[in-house]
């Protein structure tokens, strides 16, 4: 089976989020996904991306966020990597912060929506978050046209 791979780099600034969603949505538009899978993947990418921008790179425009997305007919996978100085081991438990806390929910949301999620040291020394979502019987129209 063939796999498609998409790679993007984003400067850590106020336009990064919009740019990431434009690129992500253009990829997802090519795929024949059910709504729930599409929403879940968007959410998990968004959570990892925001963490990379804010906590990894501190919105330093000299640092970039690297997004690598792979699609085959079984799953969607993504690696999101920052250029932070200290890679962080992330706790993906489903525990929620204190109810009126304004932060601390992103990792639990990632864990809830992804089928697998891990973190480690990225190629550039920062934090890398990797996750996958199984495709429930959906196939890429683009992959079908290749086979």
């Amino acid at each position: 089976m063939s796999e498609r791979r998409y790679s993007f780099v984003y400067q850590s600034n106020g336009q990064a989020e919009d740019a990431m969603f434009r690129d992500l949505d253009s990829i997802l538009a090519e795929l024949d996904l059910d709504t729930r899978t599409r929403q879940a993947f968007r959410l998990v990418v968004s959570e990892a991306f925001t963490n990379a921008l804010e906590h990894g790179n501190g919105f330093d425009p000299a640092k970039s966020v690297y997004v690598d997305i792979r699609v085959n007919d079984r799953e969607l996978r993504a690696d999101i990597e920052d250029e932070g100085e200290r890679p962080v081991n992330l706790d993906f438990s489903l525990a929620q912060p204190e109810s009126e806390s304004e932060g601390g929910r992103g990792l639990a949301l990632m864990r809830y929506h992804a089928d697998s999620v891990t973190s480690g040291i990225g190629k550039r020394g920062g934090t890398r978050v990797s996750f996958g979502l199984a495709l429930k019987g959906a196939r890429s129209r683009a992959i079908e046209s290749i086979e």
């Binding site: 968004s46 304004e102 932060g103 601390g104 929910r105 639990a108």
Partner: protein, 120 residues
Amino acid sequence: MEITSNQNGNVTVLALEGRLDYTSGNELKEKVNSEFEAGNIRVHLNLAAVDFINSSGVGTLVSLMKNARTRQGRLTLSNLAAYVSEIFEVTQLSHIFEIYPTEEAALASYESSPSRAAVR
């Protein structure tokens, strides 16, 4: 995100459209906090056209709810799409917000309890 504002009696109604994420959350915080500072401490957010929310967007709403409470005001939400409602359930926040099925129901609550604090 697009934010459309109108005044319904002494309630400021903001209709949100698009994504509620880190960037747009900051825009919303600025908008609502400026309403609070202008003395408009009763704010209703209609989320019917919000098609995406992440933990940053949720954090924005928590911040605004707390700010409303500090000012003895109210912040209400309505018209949550199923996806958005699920995010609230997963993050265990459904119980700390005043969430109404429709804008009309939310506005009616202001008539019956105009000075109720924004926390249960």
